[in-house]
């Protein structure tokens, strides 16, 4: 090769490069496709189906038969305790069976409700007309490729008397690292036809460790007996009691009352953050001297609670728990029981803690909730939620509605209205069906 041939070499290289760069090609866009089984090795992620058989609980089967309600054409809703899961629905066949296919490994919640028509309701004797809706929930653990089957029992609504009607778990994180969650509250509602008295009523929440934990603490090995205990409900160490001596705090039928963490105008305290004016709340928690005390709101009695975060009480922002209320006599019936700490960081995780055991017969109402999978801050990032969530006698399926980033309430659905025009709230002991998102305080502080 000589010097004169160098330009030829250079030009040749450039031509090769240019020719290759101009070659045909192109990238196409494809949509999602079902990958044929022939492309999968047996060890790839598999899918399977859940078949759920809906029937009527033994206690209410006669009522359903009298009303003429069948198990067919019921809409079953499937949710999953996993980020981003889109709920699905399926309709039961003549045998009451609904099927969901193409599901991944996981724990699923199923729920269904059936509102009686006027004709069906008219068939019932007057004493049973409270049962204007049937609802139920169940959980299913799916381990593909094996399909799974489960049953779901419907029970008739029993409206009860004092019920938890609303939860406002809004935690605006923009101001401090704790977030502004002092504006959270729980609302109670008198669902009966007679006045109830709040005096001495207990309100508490179940501990996280009762319903789930880290993967190292499987649900079937830890706290299972306590979780499924039909005779007792286990409380965390936060138990409050309404003040009063018996008839100091009446609640009229169709009326609601608010229990605030702080009975303040939170919209003024934290302007522009979507907070609410709770200065008119009838009750508030009271913590340390640092806790602002509204003299017009009655202070709750701390039965087993401390003073809470920053001494201001315990915000109602938790999920994967159940809130509950109990009769005043329950205070004397409380016993303690050990419960293994399945959440937390070493060294506390794995140790044995204390839970407060309250007889199931003294429980007035239960509201079971876990995080909404569509909230950006889906909280249970590393843990697992157990199935079943708790004993069916207490609640059959938790409501996956807690979204601490939305200034919105989780509110009990309206079932019907009484002859006097009062709202009758839906209470089927199936939180997944009984609660929905709603404008806050429409039954209490903002009631016209």
């Amino acid at each position: 090769m000589t010097i004169r041939r160098m330009p030829v070499v250079l030009a040749l290289c450039a031509m090769i490069a240019a020719a290759s760069a101009c070659g045909a090609g192109g990238v196409t866009e494809t949509g999602g496709t079902t990958l044929a089984d022939t492309t999968k090795s047996p060890t790839t992620v598999q899918r399977a189906a859940i078949a759920v058989t809906v029937n009527f609980g033994s206690a209410d089967a006669v009522v359903a038969g009298t009303a003429g309600v069948s198990r067919s054409e019921l809409t079953v809703r499937l949710t999953r305790d996993a980020p981003g899961f889109t709920p699905a629905t399926a309709t039961t066949d003549a045998n009451g069976v609904a099927r969901f296919s193409g599901l991944l490994d996981g724990i699923y919640q199923l729920s269904v409700d059936r509102v009686l028509t006027a004709t069906e309701l008219a068939r019932l004797p007057p004493a049973d007309r409270d049962a204007s809706i049937f609802a139920g929930g169940a959980s299913a653990v799916l381990s593909p490729p094996a399909n799974t089957a489960t049953t779901l029992s419907l029970i008739a609504a029993r409206r009860g008397s004092l019920v938890i009607s609303e939860l406002f778990p809004f935690n605006n994180p923009l101001t401090t690292h704790l977030g502004y969650n002092w504006g959270t509250y729980i609302e109670l509602y008198n669902n009966a036809d007679t006045t109830v008295y709040l005096d001495g009523v207990l309100i508490f929440k179940t501990p996280l460790t009762l319903h789930g934990g880290w993967p190292e603490y499987p649900c079937d090995q830890y706290n299972r007996a306590e979780r499924l205990d039909s005779n007792f409900l286990y409380s965390s160490s936060v138990v409050h009691q309404f003040p009063g001596n018996g008839r100091d705090f009446p609640l009229q039928p169709g009326h609601a009352t608010v229990l605030a963490v702080d009975a303040l105008n939170h919209n003024a305290a934290a302007p522009g953050m979507g907070q609410l004016d709770l200065s008119g709340a009838e009750f508030e928690q009271i913590g340390s001297d640092a806790d602002p005390d509204n003299p017009f709101a009655a202070n709750m009695i701390r039965v087993y609670a401390g003073t809470g975060a920053l001494g201001r009480g315990y915000p109602y922002v938790g999920a994967n728990i159940a809130h509950a209320i109990a009769l005043p006599v329950a205070r004397a019936a409380i016993t303690t029981a050990p419960l293994i700490n399945t959440y937390g960081t070493p060294p506390s995780v794995g140790t044995i803690g204390t839970a407060y055991r309250i007889p199931r017969s003294l429980i007035l109402d239960v509201m079971a909730v876990f995080y909404s999978p569509d909230e950006p801050g889906y909280g249970n990032s590393s843990g697992v939620t157990c199935a079943p969530f708790m004993a069916p006698a207490a609640d059959r399926a938790p409501a996956p509605l807690v979204n601490t980033r939305r200034s919105i309430a989780i509110s009990r659905k309206t079932l019907t209205r009484s002859t006097e025009g009062r709202e009758i709230l839906q209470r089927t002991r199936t939180s997944a069906r009984d609660f929905e998102y709603a404008t806050p305080l429409r039954r209490s502080l903002k009631k016209q």
Partner: protein, 557 residues
Amino acid sequence: MSARAGVLLVAGIAFASTGAVPRVLAAQDGTASGWGRAVDASGASASATAAWMGAWSPLRPIVDQSRGLLRAPLGPGLLMASAPMAGAFVIGGAPGALARDLQPRLRGDTARFGDVRIRYANEAGSYRRPLDMAQSTATQVAGTGFAPVGSRGVVMGSFVLDREQHDTSSFTQRVSAYGSSPFVVTDSVTPPMQRTRARLEGALGLRLGGFGVGLSAGLESREHYSVDFPLRRSGRNAIPAVAAGIERVLPWYGARVGAFYRWSEANETNSLNPNPLSTNVYQVQGYDEPVGLLVTAANQLFVRNEKRATSVGGSFELAILGARVIVVHEQGDRAEDQFFNVVVAKRATDIWRATGQSTRLQVQRSVGRRGRLNVVGARSSLVGRASRRDLRGIAIDASDASTAIEADLRWTLSPRWEAAVISGMQQQTSRRTDYVVELRSTIETTTPFVGGELSRQFGRSAVAAGASFAAVTPSGSVPIAVGKGTSYRRLIAPMLAYESADTRAFAAWATARTAVRAMPVWVSARVDRASAASARVSRLQPGGERTQFTVTMGMRP
């Protein structure tokens, strides 16, 4: 030209180049090349010296193919580095061959080399992927050298110390976000960040009769953290690597046969302390919609990536028809486990397992009395499987393959003039099948590249100038972006769009060298630019361009 004039020329070019430098530069750059790159895909280290000087590194990835941003090839470095040597150590890092590889054979070869470089570079531009640093400024001190030790040994070593500052970083703090593993943890902020790195590598080879033995080791350590931001990102990354080898000289055609073993066990730890500002973490797991997980001061995030890789290889060298022919083959395994927070650290959240192989080829010979030709080729492939803790079975199947060939022709035109041209082709294939969301992608890219450099001697000084060009032509299929979730469209779709876009990259550089008290001193400035030649708005393809400016000053003590 006198020495004083040479110094003035160097200083003048340095001043002019520095004045033209914008304020930014980014990691994750990949120059088109037939040489294997070292573990770092950053432009900060990649362009500090000639490509062949980094191929021996024990830190070169095992069974992993980083996908960097496209850049035009590095220059031949006529005034900065010696011409490429040949051997199993040079192209494949086989330590047993070191002592015989770095011996002069052709005109221009040298038995000893050493330099120290100071480099300032910056890079910016919107033509990048979501997890590439938006802006970066790097200041680096680096050195490379090799020399005989006694009558039987040769040592080679290099060091890099650098600091990168990012006025705007990316959605992740992972050092190298685009490897073969489909798992990477991201968040929702791009805070200013600072990274500090130290890398030390060394190799020793001995000739023992008809045998050769060698050992090489490397360690890279990084620290990074956010700066002046109401959220604390911080992390550490340590990569130790060792290679050991042996070779045997055979009695015909100058043949040598060898074997080696490589080991590397990298650990990267990243934490988020969102105080007072909280953020959401989005875990990218293939093509599944990444869902936000809230992290607050009460729920801080701790992510640890443990990577273990080993390989065994063999080498064969032969002298035939006036050319030296080298083949190095290795195959290995890689395991990566990703752990979330302290409590569940006992079980990996995401698991990646891969096996792969790599074959490298080199042919080198003189061309007449004034030229030398060096051809390197490489074929690497891997298959990997990813699984998630929340699902049983394989969630994602993946395969990556890369084939590259590069020719380097250097010619002494006259006692004053020298020229070099490099040209080659790189083909890469990346396939992913996500069984969770039932989506597939296949991206095949063909990247021809070419570059040239011309130098002129002026007494004790010299100047050189060159340019290079690379173009990517893709084919294949990617999932349609329309209708996908918000996080997919923010984090995944633009990445696929970038990697399936027609891209062009240009670079030009100038170098001046003089001798100060018999010590060669040089300065070089380089400009890079890359942009898309096609626009696919529906795919959320990034637009604009990516530019980098680099000034390097060096000396050979």
